[in-house]
Amino acid sequence: MNNLTDNNWILSVGTFLPLLGALAIMFGTSRDDERTPKVIGIFTAGATLAIGIATLVLFDYDQSQNLQFFVDAEWIEVISSGYTIGLDGISLPLYFLSMAVTFLVMIYSWDNMPEAGNPKAFYSLMLILQTGMAGTFIAQDLILFFVFFEVVLLPMYFMIGVWGGEQRKYASLKFFLYTMFGSAFMLVAFLAIFFQTGGESFSFAWLYEMGAGIDRDVQIWIFAGMFLGFAVKVPMFPFHTWLPDAHTQAPTQGSVILAAILLKLGTYGFVRIALPMLPQGAEAWAPVIGILAVIGIIYGALGCLAQTDMKRLIAFSSVAHMGFVMLGISTLTTFGINAALFGMVAHGLITGMLFFVAGSIKHRYHTLEISRLSGMLIQMPKMGWILGFAAMASLGLPGLAGFWGEFPAILSAYNPHPALNETLFRTLMVIAAVGTVLAAAYLLWLYQRTAFGEPTEEFAGHSDAEHEAAAHAGHDSHGVAHSLSSAANVDADEHHDDIHDVQPTEWIAWTPFLIAIVVFGVYPQLMFKVLDPAVTQLVNTISAGIPQ
Amino acid sequence: MLAANFLLLAAVLFCIGVFGVIARRNAVMVLMSIELVLNSVNLNLVAFALMNDDVDGQVFALFVIAIAAAEVGVGLAMVLLIYRNRRSISLDELSELKG
């Protein structure tokens, strides 16, 4: 594993540029100026994205298993922790995803600011958030990783707390404390591994090398600490309860970022840190992770079936999907971890998309009660189709991105790492497969109840689409239809007429998601090619550390 | 063994002082009790100085006495202050701040 250091400025720029933007907004704009912060914010995010694209271009895909743009600078030498950053095949997709998502979310916010307003604070927070996310994916030093990992918390806390829904206070604090709880133990675990490996260095490379040497029991304990930290973030089954509240209360933008990137920090941590550094610990914990993951799959699905609120349903579906990801990881095989990483990106795109749609629906109907929403396809055909598309992608339809996270993960469970119990994991595989059916059940059920059928009384006749239809009906000779829809018009005139189909900004923000979902679904090699070598190397590190 | 008696006495004084601090409700009495504690300390110091025959202990005792005086000054001033404000020096009434 040799590190390539050419163009190594690019990562630091890509990571900290948003921070500059945030400062610019904070000190450069006045509070009553609605527009400038948005402009600056979108501009900065755009610039960052450009850097990201440049990174994609400069990235040497033939050595995606090596760290590229590698920097190793002094930072806090007293605790022998350095500013060590680098990018390899595992980080690249998520690193770029974070940039893209932030940018698109900002564009989306141009027209769809949450009620609380104050774009100045909103945009600067989002930029800080971006720095945190990007940093987490490039950090190659435990302390640096931890810092970025935590930096993300604060902006998200405020995003939920300030711009959130009715129970935002409860939700935000819960989110915060929960994650805090995990990361506190994670920090202890980090220090433990640091001292167990001789207190030389916090850099990943060093710990990969030395971690395996720690004796098994100690590894198990340290892994337990990291497990707490990451599992809360993922979130895995017993630690998931912050997620539905956070998602439901968060503003659309928050939910999207949360689903698209933040949840990935946990799984990424497992793959990047916990597994390779503590192979025996991983091997000991893998069954637990696998079982919890599968419980999560079924449990999340059941949770979805119970929901009456669309956003909460989507939130619970994340629990299920991350279950697949964790199942893949728990197999400790190249197959599984590849699947997991693909699944992370896919879930990011798809669930992000779902939350976007949910947000826009909320924006129009001012409710997400499934029972009150109906006939969306009549009132907003395009929105309805997009929802359907996202739902299909989410239930793992081949040809769309979701499938490539789900299917190989299930497949990999059939023969996990030789050190693991085959029977157990095969059982898990079957249960997970059942999970796919449940996924179909709740998503289609959701779709059938919201998109199909007739609009409910309270909203009927309030949409543009219906008016066109009504006008059309006026011409042809359906007496009944005419009278009905004209009746609809009458009460439409009384209420204000607020149900429009997908708006331009929404199109701009969503199209990349939709395209990405299709492209990665149709030609997954695009990502697997990047992931596979890196993952293979990672798994070799793991296997090397597990005595046969 | 002569010194041992001093130490014993000091210990007893100390205990009385502590008891006073814990048991008495009257600010001045508590102040007195604390003085007892300090004096037990002085007694100790002098006794030990005698045992180890060097002057450090006695010097220390002098410092303690001096500072104790200063403290008592401040202390009595405060007692006066609260007496002026609430016409009582019962410590039980000094419990507005709690929880």
Partner: protein, 513 residues
């Protein structure tokens, strides 16, 4: 008369010891400053009293100069006075600097508070200077007696400052409680000292005849153990460690806010200074005694402080409990001072924590002062919607609270991290247990810190009065210093990470394995 005394001295063939004036320059400047301020205050018109504050500030800054020069001149070789009873080494200098800085910031904070309150300003500042002097001395004291004197010198003015609002009964109460408890605690401490003196026959900490050399595990007599325990208890009171904390919340709440800030930072730091000096110089080999004791104290302190802070509705009282629990975190590494590996990083961890803690806690109080000037209330709820009408203060508050909660990349994070690191360096089961307790406590503490932030950002303004706050310039200055300090340390910890290396502490005997 003079001649008589001198002849007496001559008879006792007493020659005055050589005095390193440069070394004690900070103390001298403070002493002079005290008198100057006092004199000027005596004949200064009521209208011009504001000058006093400025003057005090200047005194502090003046005292700062020799600290710096000493630091430059020192490079490794400590200066010892009075055969090692009073030492100026880098460790001492760092802490002196800290005390002066804190003093300066507190002056900035208190200026307007006092003007508004119409209190006696001159005396106040004199007292504060005395207290600072005591602290500065504490940093250099290497002898039980000088430690004791320094302690009293910094405490007694404190008793009076606590009761400074003469007509407010709570202020009196605060003062009285602080006073009685303080004196009682120092009584106990003295008792302990007397036993130590008795058992070892010396009051010096260092040197082959000093306490450090004589008190060694295994060969401890009952007197020595009691002595050690009581002395530690005395300072545990000063740093308001549970269960010696009970005075703190009441005093903090009752005393004028700037004074509270002063107590919660400066005198606490002084207490820790004494503790460090004792633990590293007097009892380094008695770790079987202080180790368990400090372990328990640390665990209790952070936990009890936190759970009690959860219940508070008054911001000052909440901060009081928070500072108690922070004290627990600072105390944590000291429990492992005797450990071969941890010892070094423990000292460093404590010093660093004290620095960072000074910044963020003073900052928090500065915000409280600034806000309560408008709202005239100490309730947390009165901060509602602060973000809407005073975003600047709100952001500052966010920085401090987050830093106190230990969120990177703010100073508090590095301080906590360092403490954890020092503890885990010992790599014993008890260390891991303590670390886990601390981990849980970080979460609990985050709960109440972020409840404040939630009020600041989310809640509505309680009394729809959203007139923007423009705090007076001294407070803005104070805020500036503290915010910058907090962030800088967090982002670039090397700034402070170097402070408090074991080697800087002169006279430390090599720790036993």
């Amino acid at each position: 008369m003079i001649g008589m005394i001198s002849s007496l001295l001559a008879q006792a063939d007493w020659s005055s010891p050589p005095i390193d004036w440069h070394a004690i320059a900070p103390e001298l400047i403070l002493v002079i400053g005290i008198n100057v301020v006092l004199l000027i205050d005596l004949n200064l018109a009521e209208s011009k009293k504001w000058m006093i504050a400025t003057l005090t500030g200047i005194v502090m800054l003046l005292a700062f100069i020799p600290v710096v020069t000493l630091g430059l001149e020192l490079d490794g070789v400590p200066r010892e006075l009075f055969d090692g009873r009073y030492v100026i080494d880098e460790y001492a200098l760092v802490l002196k600097a800290l005390f002066l800085l804190v003093g300066y910031v507190v002056v900035l904070m208190s200026q307007n508070a006092l003007e508004d309150g119409g209190y006696y300003q001159g005396e106040f500042y004199v007292l504060m200077l005395c207290s600072i002097l005591g602290m500065v001395m504490m940093a250099s004291s290497r002898d039980l007696i000088s430690i004791f004197v320094a302690l009293e010198l910094l405490s007694i003015p404190g008793y009076m400052m606590a009761a400074w609002k003469k007509r407010s009964s709570v202020s009196n109460e605060a003062g009285v409680k602080y006073y009685l408890m303080g004196v009682f605690a120092s009584g106990i401490m003295l008792f302990g000292m007397s036993y130590l003196y008795g058992a070892t026959g010396t009051t010096a900490l260092t040197g082959e005849e000093g306490l450090g050399a004589l008190l060694t595990d295994g060969s401890l007599s009952g007197l020595e153990v009691i002595g050690i325990v009581f002395v530690l208890a005395g300072f545990a009171f000063k740093i308001s460690a549970v269960p010696f904390h009970s005075w703190a919340p009441d005093t903090y709440e009752g005393a004028p806010t700037p004074v509270t800030a002063f107590f919660s930072v400066a005198s606490k730091a002084a207490g820790f200074t004494a503790l460090m000096t004792l633990v590293f110089l007097a009892f380094p080999n008695a770790s079987d005694v202080y180790g368990p004791m400090l372990w328990v104290l640390a665990a209790l302190t952070m936990t009890v402080g936190n759970v009690l802070a959860l219940r508070q509705t008054n911001i000052v009282r909440m901060l009081a409990y928070s500072s108690i629990s922070q004290g627990g975190f600072i105390l944590m590494p000291l429990a492992y001072a005797g450990d071969v590996d941890a010892g070094g990083s423990a000292l460093n961890a404590v010093v660093v924590y004290l620095l960072v803690y000074a910044f963020m806690n003073l900052g928090a109080f500065a915000v409280v002062i600034a806000v309560s000037r408008k709202t005239q209330s100490g309730e947390i709820s009165s901060f509602g919607g602060l973000f809407n009408y005073a975003p600047g203060l709100a952001v500052a508050m966010t920085v401090f609270m987050a830093s106190l909660a230990g969120i990177p990349p703010l100073g508090g994070w590095f301080a906590k991290f360092n403490a954890f690191k020092a503890v885990l360096d010992a790599d014993t089961t008890s260390a891991y247990v303590l670390a886990c307790i601390a981990a849980v406590n970080t979460v609990i503490s985050a709960a109440y810190y972020f409840r404040v932030l939630r009020t600041v950002w989310v809640d509505d303004v309680p009394d729809g009065n959203t007139a923007p706050i423009n705090p007076p310039s001294p407070i803005i200055a104070a805020l500036g210093i503290t915010v910058i300090g907090t962030i800088a340390v967090g982002v670039y910890p090397r700034l402070v990470a170097g402070f408090g290396n074991l080697s800087d502490l002169a006279g430390t005997v090599p720790l036993l394995g």
